[in-house]
Symmetry: C2
Subunit: 202 residues, 2 copies
DNA sequence: CTGTTTAGGTTGACAATGACAACCTTTCGA
DNA sequence: TCGAAAGGTTGTCATTGTCAACCTAAACAG
């Protein structure tokens, strides 16, 4: 015997569904997907997914986790070739953020949609805080070495810088940077903002 | 005779539908509304709305226009008590933006969703550019008087400042400012960013 | 006036979607 | 070995966006 074709129990449906959803989102370039599409892609009936996810939103929340991992990969890679605590380090983080926003448009959009129940929201907040931590530490290191008198403000500075990066990324995402300033260059803008906020002369 | 109750022809269904949708969005605090809800609120059958809007998205686009008008009201009010071209003027504009984002959460979220066809998109881009113009002019005036050597960069400065404001507003909107920095204060952050960005040569 | 066109309503139908209930089929532990 | 639980299936439902077919009031030409 040993036919072994498509066993009744999938074995890893939960994870397959998540990656299938992610792939789907990436290929159609929008996170407006349906349960049926995901089920079909993974070769299973729609209701099967409800054994693993409370509802559609729970599935999307899981995909959001993937997106967080993705952005972490971008920043980790960006950090490899820069000395910790330098301005270049901070630039690299920002640039990675912008690049992720453009490379993975649909994911980036999805990440900031916040539906989902309270638990899911808490988990996501934690993931985001972890990402933020990386920036915060880089800035703290930088300030400690370059402007020790400002080290106490590192948290506020990091929050502000993240806001700037997020604003630039979001506006670019919505094609508004071009609308406002035809020659706008997101990366250059962020570098400018970074220097301004860190109070460094260009 | 002269009953005159609910004439067959509504008379102004298009506009009523738009405001009904806006009210609905405001009361439920989310722009996830249905055609049926809007139709019911205005006392008409769902398909009636399709005589006035190509599809649901066209209705939402019309509501977005309302939102743009709303934000303009906020900024216009904010400008009344400040001298043009002062730092206070720029602060007032930013503060109005933040206030709108918090007061009208659902509207603010809706404004940056961009589905809709090309024409609708163009119209919205124009509306946004109009809003941006106000900030741009204030900044140009400010620079002309305070830092004439930087006037040529007014457009880039305005774009950057808008980005910062937008980032702060968006993060606050998603309750992420608190997540990153428990003591974060959006308005203070924006004032800080404003001062930093205005002092830099782009 | 009268009749016809047309704008703007109505009901009824449809497909797609999210979700659930009822049921069947493996897997696994006592 | 057998029964429960895990994890599938089909069938069904309400909601939603949307359309087609139809009706009715208003507007306007003759």
């Amino acid at each position: 015997m040993n036919q072994s074709v498509t066993p009744y129990h999938h074995g890893d449906l939960r994870n397959c569904a998540i990656t299938a959803a992610a792939e789907l989102i990436e290929t159609i370039g929008s996170y407006d997907i349906t349960i049926a599409q995901v089920a079909k892609r993974v070769g299973v009936s729609s209701p099967a997914l409800y054994r693993h996810f409370k509802d559609k939103d729970a599935l999307l929340t899981a995909v959001r986790e993937l997106a967080h991992i993705g952005i972490m990969e971008y920043t980790t890679n960006a950090q490899e070739s820069v000395a910790p605590g330098t301005l270049a380090h901070i630039d690299a983080l920002g640039s990675a953020y912008l690049r992720f926003a453009m490379d993975k448009k649909a994911f980036f959009g999805l990440m900031w949609e916040n539906h989902g129940d309270a638990d899911e929201r808490r988990a996501e907040a934690r993931a985001k805080r972890t990402g933020f931590q990386v920036l915060h530490e880089a800035i703290e290191l930088y300030l400690r070495e370059q402007r020790p008198e400002s080290v106490e403000n590192s948290l506020q500075t990091a929050t502000l810088l993240w806001s700037a990066a997020h604003g630039i990324a979001t506006l670019q995402h919505n094609r508004l940077l071009d609308t406002f300033d035809q020659n706008a260059n997101a990366e250059f803008m962020l570098r400018t903002a970074t220097r301004a906020i860190l109070k460094v002369d260009v």
